[in-house]
Symmetry: C2
Subunit: 227 residues, 2 copies
DNA sequence: GGGTCTTATCGTCAAACTGACGACAATCGA
DNA sequence: TCGATTGTCGTCAGTTTGACGATAAGACCC
């Protein structure tokens, strides 16, 4: 076969919702290029490894999440010749949605990983290394869009959650406030979105709220609306 | 940098609507592996070439379309280690939507390219070489989904088109029949979807139909519904 | 125990949208 | 002139949305 070989990497946009805001896991680069900047976690795909396998491996390395139950999906691939000053690298970007774990970010990789507010990173393209601002933009937009027509918001929640907590996810990801009453109606009446567990919790204060689990639906008909 | 280099290719799913059916441009493979099977057009990304640039180059080679005005978007990247028996190749798949051109398929590449009904190819996974059945499935699903919430259907039409022609696109891509009256209402009343040109045509027989052009909208609110 | 605060949940109502379908308009070919 | 064909406008009932009032069920304070 006649081809010029290139480096292929998997980069991860790991999102969570903490304290009511959408956050992304980033690594502070300790070495040039882009030393001191934030970057997405990622690494090269190994010779006998599938792309998604590589992404899951990185995810586990960065978060300690034994990842089967974590939502992971491919977003896009970036291969502009000049995107990495060290050489030609094609990056396959993956989006991971994780619940707000009490787990510390146990980075086995050298650099210090931390959760950073997405809004802050999107503000200024120069806060992120390489073309990672673009990758983050695309991944966040994908997440925002998918909340509309898929039950994906539950991927940010623990196994059991209240409707308010679910609404909090939407509000954090979309950056809008939603009417609690209309949201409640929509979430509970959309077929297969959530199923009641039977128990209640008072962890949010106020009247005890029913607990729900994610339902079997794959798509939401009709979709929820942003704003 | 420490990595194992891989081959990176761009594969194309070029769709059009002809004779009321959704068709894809395929190449009959003349050499092993998968000799005699249909395959998606594609080729390796060159050392100094962007991924999309490579896709546009292939598109031009296969269709003769000087492609600026052609809709081209990335669908996904496939990199399972065993997907190409000749070696490790990572393929970035692109989706192209082209109008039904009178242009002959001027394949400069050796093999014979032709338009094939998508339904026929989706029926049996073994009619396509490599993992191209999966790629085609993903790309077609992407196209189907995007027709719902984006004005993309117009990419299948000539510059000026009638509402019926537009409806024909939806019917071919979705494989359903739509009510002409409701479709007409929806298409003309959705803000920015289509704008009237002022002229009419009788090319479909019957009463002359207004001609429209694609409008400025990027997304359709609310979306059209399949079935 | 009685207020008061907070969050959960149900209900109401008008406006918008959908899907089914009737009716009429404008052309062509016989 | 008479169908046949396709385009376009209307009507109507059922559904969904968005705004918002009202009540429920706890916690907290005195």
């Amino acid at each position: 076969m006649d081809y010029e070989p290139l480096g292929v990497a998997a980069d991860l946009v790991i999102l969570t919702v903490r304290d009511g805001s959408l956050q992304v896991l980033l690594i502070r680069r300790g070495i040039a290029p882009y030393r001191g900047r934030w970057a997405l976690p990622g690494g090269f795909v190994r010779p006998k490894e599938d792309l998604e396998e590589a992404a899951r491996r990185e995810l586990a390395e960065e978060t300690g999440l034994g990842s089967e139950r974590i939502h992971l999906e491919q977003v896009a691939t970036y291969g502009e010749p000049g995107r990495d000053p060290r050489g030609r690298v094609v990056s396959v970007a993956y989006l991971a949605l994780v619940p707000d774990l009490p787990t510390p970010v146990a980075g086995t990789d050298a650099a210090s990983a931390s959760w950073v507010a997405v809004a802050e990173m999107l503000e200024d393209p120069r806060r992120l290394a390489f073309d990672h601002h673009r990758i983050l933009t695309d991944a966040v937009e994908r997440a925002r869009a998918k909340l509309e027509y898929s039950p994906l918001a539950a991927a940010f929640c623990p196994d059991e959650f209240t409707i308010s907590e679910l609404r909090g996810i939407y509000e954090a990801v979309w950056g809008v406030l939603l009417d609690p009453r209309n949201f409640h109606r929509k979430a509970t009446k959309t077929d297969g979105f959530v199923v009641p567990v039977g128990a209640t919790t008072t962890r949010d204060g106020g009247r005890p709220a029913q607990l729900f689990r994610r339902g079997p639906a794959v798509t939401l008909h009709p979709p929820l609306t942003r704003g």
